[in-house]
């Protein structure tokens, strides 16, 4: 590797992970979600992983102690995917059209075996004649595996002061 290539490379658990790899992982994930390929999306999580969305008044407390929008352990995450694949998930039948933009991607070593990844997102959602915009940042924990990067924690933190009218979180943010 040249010194230029080494810039933005994080080493965890003996593996080198570049920012480009992290970005590709996030872009692939965004495509899967926009295409509603939820089984493939769920496969991006390791067993025991979590999916969280804190409330808009969030100031760093544990979601185990207070309220949140989404506080899914792995069982609930699987239940959420199963629900969203059902025609009886009325809030998402028909599905929202979503389009996701991701930028400001950064990666840091986290403890011995994980990467802390932060990124900005804009998710556009069209449904029922309305067009909503969700803006915020991701704060994920990713682990490198033989199959590639995987989520240990997927966390979406909204910048909004409150969810705007109609902007529910019935899809994956």
């Amino acid at each position: 590797m040249t010194s230029v290539d080494e810039y933005g490379v994080v080493t965890v658990a003996g593996r080198n992970v570049s920012r480009a790899q992290v970005e590709d992982f996030l872009y692939v994930e965004a495509d899967l979600l926009d295409a509603w390929q939820l089984d493939d999306w769920l496969a991006l999580f390791v067993d025991g992983a979590r999916y969280e969305i804190p409330t808009t008044d969030y100031r760093g407390w544990s979601l185990h102690e207070g309220g949140s929008f989404v506080d899914d352990d792995y069982d609930l995450l699987r239940a959420r995917v199963k629900r969203l694949k059902s025609r009886k998930a009325h809030a998402e039948n028909p599905h929202s059209r979503t389009h996701r933009l991701i930028s400001n991607v950064r990666a840091f070593a986290h403890e011995d075996d994980a990467l802390r990844v932060t990124a900005s997102f804009i998710v556009h959602r069209a449904r029922d004649g309305q067009f909503d915009t969700y803006v915020g940042r991701y704060e994920h924990l990713l682990v490198p595996t033989d199959e590639g990067l995987r989520f240990r924690l997927r966390r979406s933190i909204l910048t909004h002061e409150a969810l705007p009218p109609g902007a529910r979180l019935s899809f994956i943010l």
């Binding site: 008044d57 207070g66 989404v70 352990d73 059902s86 809030a91 019935s170 943010l173």
Partner: protein, 451 residues
């Protein structure tokens, strides 16, 4: 049935017919800006409104800023510990006084001309007040403006913009004891937590009330959530679930086949440790409350509606939901989790996960309720101004056939909704708003002995 106009003004809002056993609500009630304006004036400006929970401002000098009935307020505890609701508007020129959403402050200073107020409402400083004639009198007349009435029941803080409103406990009536029952669940009582769900729905506020008082929707609307519960080993039934009108527009669903209750009714998805905690808590409750009261406090889930803006969900866990109508077609919603003050951390984590898995805009169930309000709000445009008689009305007749016989209404009937609408039509004060055909039963069933 008379013909509905676009704004509903020329037609009855509610048409109940005790011969045909039908109850119909004019859809202009959800749609009309005129009705919304009348509600503001005759309901929201006249009755008690839920403002917040005392535990949100637990310490002296704590404050929250909150809009209620469209009016910006400061909900605070002063330095001496007293709870206040101030208009969030400088008495000088009307500027928003506090532009933070929450915090802790002894003083509120208006940025515009630096007028400064203590959190007990007194004027602390008016810069260069020698320029005024009689500055003492000026200070006295320029104290913070309060909401005229504030009373607290079991930590729930209610306010009224009407100085002449009757006492809170008189207004709450039978609803008050269901709030006490929540407080009695645990030694040390209950507190709200950080993590407030703030969201907004494109639907009329009364659709949110109906939805909460409507057990009929549960099975079809929450099909996927019921499926999740069933897979986790818990059977959900509609048996032994009843609806009560508590008077003054307040309503109650009593649910016993609906789901487990953290620390009170165990179910497999709660895990083995929670089973032990639940058994220990039961023993403690029996000693403290006796068998009968423990049964009503612990074994039943309750969904309580306090007219017009408070919903208490005492189900798997506890949530407080406040409705803030913004316009006929939009309602802001605020939801707090209510938890035992002294709770085992593992039980708290289970409680938070379980509650959020159901309620809120990111849960596995509430989004389908929101879909329902919004689909109704869009759908009722189809009949607006339709010249054909009776088309622009929604039907809430379910269970009248039992109601007329004096049989207790089930949660899957529409009796609690009818009780709400009967109170609403009187409170909103639309001339000729209610049309009654046939002979009304002498009394509607209300309340029950749970003490």
């Amino acid at each position: 049935m008379p013909q509905a106009g676009r704004d509903g003004s020329a037609t009855p809002m509610i048409v109940e017919d005790w011969d045909a056993l039908t109850f119909r609500v004019n859809r202009a009630a959800y749609r009309s800006p005129d009705v919304f304006a009348q509600e503001r004036e005759n309901i929201w400006m006249r009755t008690w409104l839920y403002l917040g929970h005392e535990s949100e401002i637990a310490e002296p000098n704590d404050f929250k800023v909150r809009t209620l009935a469209g009016r910006p307020l400061i909900f605070c505890r002063d330095t001496a510990g007293e709870v206040h609701a101030w208009l969030n508007s400088c008495p000088h020129r009307g500027t928003v006084l506090c532009r933070e959403s929450e915090g802790s402050n002894k003083l509120f200073q208006c940025f515009y001309h630096a007028w400064t107020f203590r959190n007990n409402g007194d004027v602390a400083a008016i810069p260069d007040d020698a320029a005024y004639e009689g500055s003492e009198g000026l200070r006295e007349s320029m104290k913070l403006r309060s909401v005229p009435r504030l009373e607290i029941h079991e930590g729930y803080v209610f306010v009224s913009f009407n100085p002449d409103v009757p006492p809170l406990l008189e207004y709450l009536g039978d609803a008050a004891d269901y709030m006490t029952m929540i407080e009695q669940q645990h030694v040390g009582g209950m507190t709200t937590t950080p993590g407030v769900q703030l969201y907004s729905v494109r639907g009329n506020w009364k659709l949110a009330v109906e939805n909460a008082m409507d057990g009929y929707h549960f099975s079809p609307t929450h099909n996927t959530f019921v499926g999740y519960l069933r897979e986790s080993g818990f059977a959900v039934t509609d048996d032994d679930q009843y609806a009560y009108n508590l008077g003054n527009g307040h309503g109650l669903l009593v649910l016993t086949g609906h789901g487990g209750r953290i620390s009170m009714i165990w179910e497999p998805r709660f895990g083995a440790d929670e089973k032990v905690r639940t058994e220990e808590h039961r023993k403690e409750m029996l000693e403290r409350l006796g068998e009968k009261r423990t049964h009503y406090v612990a074994d039943e889930s309750h969904i309580l509606f306090v007219f017009p803006n408070l919903l208490l969900f005492d189900i798997e866990g506890l949530s407080i939901r406040q409705l803030e109508p913004v316009s006929a077609g939009q309602t802001d919603v605020r939801a707090w989790q209510l938890v035992p003050r002294n709770e085992d951390p593992a039980a708290r984590a289970l409680r938070m996960k379980t509650v959020v898995s159901f309620v809120g805009p990111g849960g596995l169930a509430t989004p389908d309720d929101i879909e329902a309000y919004e689909a109704v709000q869009r759908g009722i445009e189809a009949t607006a101004g339709d010249p054909r008689t009776g088309l622009d009305y929604s039907d809430m007749s379910r269970g009248m056939v039992d109601e007329v016989k004096g049989v207790q209404g089930r949660s899957i009937d529409e009796g609690a909704m009818r009780g709400f609408w009967r109170h609403w039509v009187g409170a909103v004060g639309i001339d000729g708003g209610l049309q009654v055909g046939g002979e009304r039963p002498a009394a509607f069933l209300e309340g029950r002995d749970v003490r």
